[in-house]
Symmetry: C2
Subunit: 739 residues, 2 copies
């Protein structure tokens, strides 16, 4: 049997106990009578020690090591070299335990020596305007044989030829417009979509649904450059030769083992029966895209569809002029491969509640060097872990258990985290307090960006208020904390003097997904971000070969002060979740969030729902009931006897279980692994978020459906389920007797 079944290392436990005995300094406690009074709920000195024990130069050193080679999932650089590096570091740091969890995963790679391209093909079969198969090497360090050629993971293989059609971002609305208004027949067409707006896997799904023969994805300068700012290597913006890699998989985790872990005894569905794309898809840079787009026929695109190339964007289908009889051709030889991937997990046992887990997660695998995505996060994780072990050596120990997660194969659609959550779903269901994700830690230096369940928003505001601002210019303006700049640059409502910063909602862009959607673990995701006012679709070099250590130190964070700030925010958020006697989960904020979601729902669908016989006041009533229950439980805190361990535990359990109450016993319709009825990845954009997803999904494009009665019956069913879950959440918060 694999090593995961024999995981209790007595020697490690013995070491940690002897450290505890040796260096007791006041607040370390092996509880003998009551554990709450002795726990440092708000001991500011602990945060100070934790923050002060961090060294930004260590983060730089880690980042340098992590990014010296490309480290794609499933290959040795990541699964052996970096796994070993992290294991060794964490063991040397003195974590209580370090365990690697291997999974057999279906990955995908371009064909070695025959990588993908697109071209124009004449009637005689002659190919012209062939796209680059590799990105241009701009800095010698990029000239590494382990660089994977640009591709979209899980694309079908194929060499389709057909008339080209421009589909803008390839959103569902874009396709509906082309289909219904422009009357485009997508059969045998090669679509070209620009990256941005939605998850690329949804673009591929839409193209497949509409019958396209293939899909080309490209990065338009409108989405990855800013006019007048130059491009890499002169700035951090995307050069014409840069290409965004990325996967197309909508299923989370290994698509052959939905709901179950890919362990040795797993049953693996035949790949042909999974939901992987059935058409070829491949990405190109705008050095190539312009060649095809500029030759297109058909009407000019509608307003908002033009990108930043100096051409007239046309819908097609097909090419014009001398190319009128030519076709677009794709050559995609991407292949799926079974590979072992690994998660590395480190543990610090909680002193009082070892069976309550606060989890920190970051993925390890990168498309190429990954200096931003994800190694900027990994480097921060490494230094955070070390700082925690410094605290351990000083005698401190968290009240609850800390779990540090280095996920494998996130870029392939959250495989490492999904398989692990699936394997330990029952333990996580009962024991996980919260999961804090950092994928990219520092995209840029403009402002903190934070997303999560709303009951954790105040925690994050408080933490941000306690972390020094890494931006010297901001400090000089009196904004001395991360929070000050967050509020100043990213207010929720700029016309409201009492506004809070923006606190976003979670889609499915990183490893928090299954924690929240499958197990109901309250989750946070964050990064230091660029200015959304730039109008770009992601940080420009995202998933390209140019995402290197030198690029980071030149353009992103030369002094590593933002990385350091992220380490501090992450560590302190987890420490408060671990150390606070009463969990810092504020259920009242969920009431605010429900009210806001209700208002949004009414704005878009209220009239339509009412005219189809739905009493929309009923939902408002149950949200109000929830709010009353949320207020009551927090009022109860005032009279809670903190010296009564069982009452404290029971009270915290109610706070923790709130999130679980929103999970349905069945997945959302058509969404195999998402079960959260209040918030889920959007149906048509896995990166986005949908409030009240079951209900909202049921009304999508409903006016165009001939079966109005059937569709509205399903809306009523979804409305009823949503109401049930809000009632269930309210009763979860009430005093346990009676139910």
């Amino acid at each position: 049997m694999p090593s995961r079944f024999v995981v209790v290392s007595l020697s490690v436990l013995a070491v940690s106990i002897s450290i505890g005995i040796g260096v007791i300094i006041g607040y370390f406690s092996h509880p003998s009578t009551n554990s709450n009074v002795q726990t440092p709920i708000e001991d500011k000195s602990i945060q100070q020690k934790l923050m002060n024990s961090m060294n930004k130069e260590n983060i730089r050193t880690h980042l340098k090591f992590l990014t010296k080679k490309p480290h794609i999932a499933g290959r040795n650089n990541d699964e052996v070299e970096l796994v070993t590096y992290i294991e060794n570091e964490w063991k040397a740091n003195g974590l209580d335990n370090v365990v690697s969890y291997p999974y057999n995963a279906l990955l995908s790679y371009p064909k070695q020596g025959d990588s993908n391209y697109v071209a124009i093909v004449g009637t005689d079969g002659t190919e012209s305007d062939i796209s680059q198969r590799k990105e241009l090497v701009i800095d010698p360090e990029q000239n590494d044989p382990d660089v994977v050629d640009p591709f979209n993971a899980y694309s079908a293989a194929g060499q389709p030829e057909g008339d080209i059609v421009y589909v803008n971002y390839g959103t569902i609305d874009d396709f509906i417009y082309l289909n219904r208004t422009m009357l485009i027949d997508f059969q045998n067409k090669i679509c070209i979509a620009r990256y941005g707006s939605i998850f690329r896997g949804d673009k591929a799904k839409h193209a497949e649904q509409y019958g396209c023969a293939g899909l080309i994805l490209y990065s338009d300068p409108a989405n990855y450059c800013v006019p007048g700012e130059g491009v890499y290597p002169d700035s951090w913006y995307l050069p014409p030769t840069g290409v965004q890699r990325g996967n197309l998989k909508l299923a989370r985790g290994d698509p052959r083992t939905i709901d179950y872990p890919s362990i040795p005894t797993a049953w693996f569905k035949n790949v042909s029966e999974t939901s992987l794309p059935k058409i070829p898809v491949t990405p190109i840079g705008y050095i190539d895209a312009v060649k095809y787009l500029s030759k297109m026929d058909g009407p000019a695109v509608p307003e908002g569809w033009s990108g930043g190339l100096n051409i007239t964007y046309r819908i097609g289908p097909g090419f014009s002029g001398t190319y009128a009889s030519s076709k677009m051709k794709m050559s995609v030889k991407t292949e799926n491969e079974e590979k072992e991937i690994k998660n590395v997990m480190g543990f610090i046992r909680g002193s009082v509640e070892p069976d309550r887990y606060v989890l920190f997660g970051n993925h390890r695998d990168a498309w190429v060097f990954g200096a931003t995505d994800p190694s900027s996060g990994t480097a921060v994780l490494m230094e955070m872990v070390r700082s925690y072990t410094v605290m351990l050596k000083q005698g401190w120990r968290p009240r609850r258990t800390l779990v540090f997660c280095s996920w494998g194969a996130e870029e392939y659609g959250l495989i490492g985290s999904t398989e692990w959550v699936e394997e330990f779903q029952k333990q996580l269901l009962f024991r996980a307090v919260a999961y804090i994700n950092v994928d990219v830690s520092v995209k840029s230096s403009y402002v903190l960006s934070c997303r999560g369940v709303y009951s954790l928003s105040n925690l994050m505001f408080d933490v941000a208020k306690s972390v020094p601002n890494p931006d010297a210019a901001e400090v000089s303006k009196g904004r001395t904390t991360v929070y000050d700049t967050w509020l100043s640059r990213s207010p929720f409502n700029s016309s409201d003097p009492s506004t809070l910063p923006v606190f976003g909602t979670l889609g499915s862009g990183s490893d928090y997904t299954m924690f929240l959607q499958s197990v109901g673990v309250p989750a946070i995701d964050m990064s230091y971000d660029y200015d959304q006012g730039l109008g770009i679709s992601s940080y420009p070099l995202y998933h390209s070969v140019y995402e290197t250590f030198d690029m980071v130190t030149t353009y992103v964070d030369p002094e590593f002060t933002y990385h350091l700030a992220m380490a501090r925010i992450w560590a302190e958020a987890g420490r408060r979740l671990s150390d606070s006697v009463i969990l810092p989960i504020d259920c009242r904020l969920y009431g605010v969030y429900l009210d806001r979601s209700y208002d949004n729902l009414m704005t878009i669908y209220g009239e339509s729902m009412r005219s189809n016989g739905i009493d929309t006041d009923k939902l408002k009533e149950v949200i109000d009931l929830f709010t009353v229950a949320a207020n009551e439980i927090h009022d109860r805190e005032n009279t809670l006897d903190l010296s009564n361990d069982f009452l404290v535990r029971g009270y915290n359990d109610q706070l923790m279980q709130l999130e679980r109450a929103f999970l349905d016993q069945n997945p959302l319709p058509g969404r195999p692994v998402y079960r959260h009825y209040i918030t889920a990845p959007s149906q048509h954009n896995n990166y986005g978020n949908s409030g009240f997803p079951g209900l909202v999904d049921s009304m999508f494009d409903i006016d165009a459906d001939p079966d109005q009665a059937g569709r509205w019956e399903e809306v009523k069913r979804q409305y009823s389920i949503l109401i049930f879950h809000i009632l269930s959440a309210a009763s979860t918060l009430r005093t346990p007797v009676p139910m």
Copy 2:
């Protein structure tokens, strides 16, 4: 909104607190520092007080009141009269709270004034040999206008005519034999099946699957009488005029709201889209059955199919002789009706762990007078509750919360318990320690019959050892406890001197079902039973009009000593689950159970699995891993610091969560509400039990399937899921860090 949303009664809480303050006598504790040491883990005097405070004459009085009128679900005698009676008693007893939970449920009744019958119909349409529409009144108390005429709930209405076919018990094997060996074409046939062997709803399902036009159910004397023993009113055996009512529904709870509670905001599926029977089904007594069976044509039945009537049993189809051209006719006008049903719930708040629930459940509704089913259980419930409140008044209070459940509409397929579990599934998932069901408390006076999850078997053995034997003849032979007779009359292995008593497995015959199958709450079901050696299919007057108070006092338990013993067993089992610092859940016994299930599996399917490429040793290996983990957790108890509340709570949580680890996130294939991968109601008999149900179901009749490859692939998938859940259970039991 309904009253369930405003459930915290401050005045009730105040009362219970003042009682606590007023009468503290030693072991009552409002915990201030540590709660474990002060709790009476094994204080025998508490059990003695609890047992001694019970009075069998009170049970008699309750039974008399409960059975004075027929009290079918959905009508006033049950939903108003008895609900009010129970509420008032419990409030007068001084429970901390009493709450009624109403649900809108789909019930079913025969048509008033035009009740169901069957008959022989000639070619000219003349009906003869018409069956009785009502059971004969034998005792004047049975002559009550509220007696519901014999019917099968949820039958489709219809007046089919066709050739009669005898299908023995109507099991799947019976139908397969008739179909494949006897080449019976069931189209337009009226089948007649004897009651017994399996749940009647499965008989109806099989008849419908095979295309029958209707199904007649009858009680054969072979199954409900013993030769030479006479029949009611001269004994407790079934007279010719007795008819067994009963429902046919396979879905648990309201079939319109699978997975969700039938609360006012529920969405109700159209009845025509539910899984209710599509053919008419109705029951008759053997006074009528013999008229039809004796006239049948066709070959004599195979060995084992003949019943106890003095005729030659024939398969048919059709009648013989002068009746050769006649048909069997059914007239069924049963109708579904929406009704309000109610559960009454009483609460005693736990002193130390109010958010841990030990639940006691019994249903209240009866087909007619219900003196055995269920009122013998209800009468015991009432006296048990009173005895607990006597203890409260003496200052005792249970460590964990006690919940007493009087379920509505159980006879209609567990509706009250299912809707309530669905409504509070999340709280139960996290908080319920165990559920102990008593439906019929005393079927007869022969031996205790106990079924449940195997981890509670030792608890039940221990409890039975502590309760005096109500059987004076047994006591005189030195068997002074309930356990002694249990072991003597019902040994698991009579040739093993160290054998334990039989401890059965759970099907879906009563309200424990959804606790175990939907939420993973360890469950027990028990009754005082008759001698299985009698060979009868249930206690003889089951669901007939003759199940009266006088019948009970004449033939079952004249002195109510067996009822009293049941009250004591039930109360003490719950008290130990509530009061023990360490929960009396023995995970090692689950290992024994898994081993036994494995051996059974190998006996039946081992060779076949191996010859289809399944490594059957792998399952044994993971069961062994489970056993190691189970042994380890119980070894840990020896060194567990009982003064550490958090460790005690965490340890108990692991014991409690074991059962949850066996639940799949998806229902078993084709079984909408059952999720337990180790034990579930049998696929072809809802009363029966299936070990490893996902796997075993997947192999049912597999040799006859032309798609061998597809079927065995599904077997492999099920095998993998089963292994996963055993691994998951093992890791649930291991020390929490690491996972």
